[in-house]
């Protein structure tokens, strides 16, 4: 590499990443992230009127958009080679595979066994066990009764 280092670097990254971006590129990204953060807090403070799912979806969508901006612009994946992009998203693509674990919990309740549910009143299980085991030391129960069916699964 007898040529000047700058040239070497320029040569080395002819196709990705070395293009010096204008300052505005980074400030704009930063602004988008800030707006995202403010929106998240605003969505949190806003009363969605019993639409828990929507509020969750909004919060997570904003988080993912923000993450996308960080990865794409700050981490220069935008300028990376196909291989670079592939590895940048490999982890995020693989997480859903891990999340398959959750499917199990979604389906446990579908089995034909009423006794699976600790709170099920039908079970003829020994009384002491039934009444005590699931809440060993909880003096309070705001919400034991309206637990999701899923929550009862374990």
């Amino acid at each position: 590499m007898a040529s000047s280092p700058l040239q070497a670097a320029a040569h080395a990254h002819g196709d990705h990443g070395h293009h010096v971006q204008p300052l505005s590129f980074y400030f704009k990204t930063g602004a988008v992230l800030t707006v995202g953060m403010i929106l998240t807090i605003a969505a949190y403070k806003y009363n969605w009127g019993g639409t828990y799912i929507i509020a969750n979806v909004i919060a997570l969508t904003i988080a993912f958009v923000k993450a996308g901006f960080v990865v794409w612009n700050f981490m220069h994946v935008k300028f990376a080679s196909t291989l670079g992009k592939m590895f940048a998203f490999l982890g995020f693509l693989w997480l859903p595979v891990l999340m398959v674990i959750l499917v199990d919990y979604g389906f446990r309740n579908h089995e034909q066994s009423p006794s699976f549910q600790l709170n099920g009143e039908e079970t003829a299980f020994p009384r002491q066990l039934k009444s005590k085991d699931h809440q060993p030391n909880s003096p309070n129960s705001v919400n034991t009764q309206n637990r999701t069916p899923y929550g009862r699964a374990f």
Binding site: S113, S115, K132
Partner: protein, 374 residues
Amino acid sequence: MFNFPMTPPAASNFAGEHDALFYAITFLAVLFTLIVSFLVVFFALKYRRGTKADRSRPMYENLALELSWIIIPTILGLAFFGWGTKVYIDMRTPPKDAMEIFVIGKQWMWHVQHPNGVRENNTLHVPMGKPVKLTMISQDVIHAFYIPAFRVQYMVVPGRYTQMWFTPTKKGEYHLFCNMYCGTQHSEMGGRVVVLDPREYADWLANNGSKPQTLTVAQAGEKIFNKVGCNNCHGGADNQRAPSLAGIYGKTRVMTDGARYIADETYLREAILRPSNKITKGYINSMSAYEGQLTEEEVVSLLAYIKSGANPAASEPAMSSALAAKESRISEGTAGNYVGAMQFNSQRADATPTKRGNKMNAVGAMAAEKVGDQ
């Protein structure tokens, strides 16, 4: 001396289905292995360097061949998958009229409760020809309830019920194993499954599982010891949760604050009813108080049992045999102890378990088991 049984007894409705499938897969497996082994050995000999085999036109790729050994195994696999899944769905779908028996697993015994309240330990009596559904829960760690002769097994998980079912089809006694590693005495956490005629089973239930006998006070104490669940922690040698009670009577005990007491009746009584008052050195305060929970009569019996010097270590297996015959209805069961055992802070902080083994006890239990089976 040795006989060579190659198969487990087949004593439930699933055994036949299971074995048919098992042998079918085994046939396929053997066939496949033989083909591969034969070809490998045959090629190795035939095409060994220097032999006069025909080596012209060597082949390096053959799509048809590749596809054939992709597609044929896939189809075979799917067929066996379908068959296996059908049987599996059966196994997971108990009939509506199944008799429900409750099983509680704990380190290291099985506690079984029949629908009418009859209880037994480490033994499961079931009527022949009737579908039985087991509803199971664990008090401590994960266990697995495994009856090889029935080809059924399922894990017993703390905090959540699991279930399995079967219909016994053959009278006899079969192995019952805990098949999920659960700690020191894992290999001895088992017993027998006894399949009875429905009539015999009814008799057995009616007699509370055994012929009633008069018990000595110490024997009654042993019963309570196991009933209340003292043996959960005080069973066997000193362990991480609690000191051993074997031969404790009359010994000097050292407390966490350094005080010393002779383990006499007063001390033992206080230790049962208000355990937090005096904590033995090396343990933390994890035992629940039994004040108000035991009648005086029961406390007396317990003291008699402890004074008799009985080694509670043997009580787990021995209970199932020597005492199982006398075991009668336990009205409250060990369930009451469940909460105590499950307290998050019931963890021993710096317990020092002794390394004393229990092999002798185990062998003793084996002998006792033989006697008990008579």
